[in-house]
């Protein structure tokens, strides 16, 4: 570990750090302990409140809810990737009649809050005579918002390649499509992969918005079971289970991204650098959407 912000602590420094560590631990554990005590004191840890986990029907419902979350995620991810690819191509086009509309679409959908988009589809469109299901509204919203962010990621990835690559390809007599598919995309994809996956984490997290338009996913399940008097309204136990599921799913994806990033860095000689980092274990960002109005990770 190369911590450069501070000297290697001497005996007094070690003692001081230990003291700070103990104090910090006391504060953190104290806060956590207090919350746990409140859980205990208000009877949230009583066995009765966990009894719902033993019913087969409820376990099956949990799986159903998990599957509908994953279904929205998969549909949204596939559509968003396709949308992103099409509009990135549009924004990179040489024809202004393709470039300008693509830019307007991408900028518009990145600036409007995702929830407003979803509301627009779910509550707005029916009044214009279009029938909507919660699933469809959610997936459409996820596609348009995340697709627009992904379009920027793709574009930034292509633009980040050295100019010489496309110039050389053109010099060899390749067509525009050939340059893109044979030369630029294969190189850019590798650098973009971590950014794409972290956007997919965002998409996975955003499926929870389906809760607000009555789509039956994990959070809606939590509210249903958590409110049932039959099991003594076990809202907090259900909440703990559901958040554990969400965090696990997202962590798996995040780890995939970190792994790919590490593999990328190991194998590519260009991005080796890295010696000038101050804090330990900070991977250099590979690609972020150019001039991002919307954050990639939020």
């Amino acid at each position: 570990m190369t911590a450069v912000l501070f000297d290697v602590p001497g005996p007094r420094g070690i003692a001081r750090n230990r003291l700070a560590g103990v104090l910090g631990a006391a504060v953190v554990l104290g806060a956590l302990g207090y919350v746990a005590y409140r859980f205990y004191d208000t009877g949230q840890f009583e066995g009765r409140l966990w009894s719902w986990l033993q019913y087969e029907q409820i376990q099956r419902d949990l799986v159903t809810a998990l599957i509908s979350t994953l279904r929205a995620f998969l549909a949204g991810a596939v559509l968003a990737l396709a949308f992103g690819a099409v509009f990135a191509a549009g924004r990179l086009s040489e024809h202004a009649w393709l470039r300008v509309p693509s830019m307007v679409v991408v900028e518009f959908f990145r600036a409007v809050p995702l929830l407003i988009l979803i509301f627009l589809f779910y509550y707005g469109l029916p009044s214009a005579g279009v029938r909507m299901t919660p699933f469809l509204a959610l997936v459409l919203g996820l596609m348009l918002y995340n697709g627009s962010v992904l379009a920027e990621v793709f574009r930034a990835g292509i633009l980040s390649l050295p100019r010489g690559q496309s110039e050389a390809a053109y010099a060899l007599g390749m067509r525009k499509t050939q340059v893109m598919t044979l030369v630029l995309l294969p190189q850019a994809l590798r650098a973009m992969l971590p950014a794409i996956i972290s956007q997919l984490v965002v998409l996975l997290k955003d499926t929870a918005l389906g809760f607000l338009i009555t789509y039956y996913e994990l959070l809606r399940y939590a509210q249903n079971i958590g409110g049932s008097f039959q099991f003594g309204r076990p809202l907090i136990p259900v909440f703990i289970v559901v958040s554990a599921i969400y965090i696990t799913l997202c962590l798996l994806l995040t780890w995939l991204a970190t792994y790919l990033e590490a593999r990328n860095r190991r194998s590519s000689k260009v991005q080796g650098g890295g010696g000038t980092e101050l804090a330990p274990e900070q991977p250099p960002l590979v690609i972020t959407p150019a001039g991002g109005g919307a954050s990639t990770t939020l």
Binding site: L5, F6, P9, G21, G24, L209, S243
Partner: protein, 219 residues
Amino acid sequence: MGEFWGVLARNSDLFVTGFGNTIKLFVIAAIGSLALGTVLAMMRVSPVPMLRLAGTAYVTVLRNTPLTLVLFFFAFAYPLLQILRISFFTAAAIGLTVYTAAFVCEVVRSGINTVNVGQAEASRALGMTFAQTLGTVVLPQAIRSVVPPLTSVQIALLKNTTIAAGFSVAEAGAIRDNLSERGEDVLVGLILVAIGFLILVFPLTLLQRSLERRWRVAR
């Protein structure tokens, strides 16, 4: 087209209070998350292993939790603990602050990483402590590379405030509920809300881009 603006004219009170609350929520959560996020970032680069661990754990958990879940906790689960009664608005402000702080922390931390290593080494050679190195040498230089991405985080926060509407906070996202109660055209209302957000977000986006261009770090 007349009908379109008619919805706005008849319900201007809704739009004014709605967007007013959105902006209030945004400002509170923005200030809170900047403060909390910076503290977390300092914890994550500090010489005390325990603090580093706590900061890392916080960021890992919060970054991988949907904001809806965080707000769900503060709106529905937290009251069951009977600690301190808070209004839905306060709950939403706390939820947004806690969630956004994790992202602010990551931005500030990577900003600290962009400062040349020689700067920290030189200050250590001068005998500065960790707090002095970070506070007087590294952080002031990190601001240059940190402000543009921080603006992005805050733009995302502004858009995320709409989620609070799902938890009984009367802000821009909740305009729809009231419009349908009044029997107005919801589609038009939502388009107007979207336009409102475009008006709020675009100046911030432009600011962010110009900062990014002007403050591009040439190291």
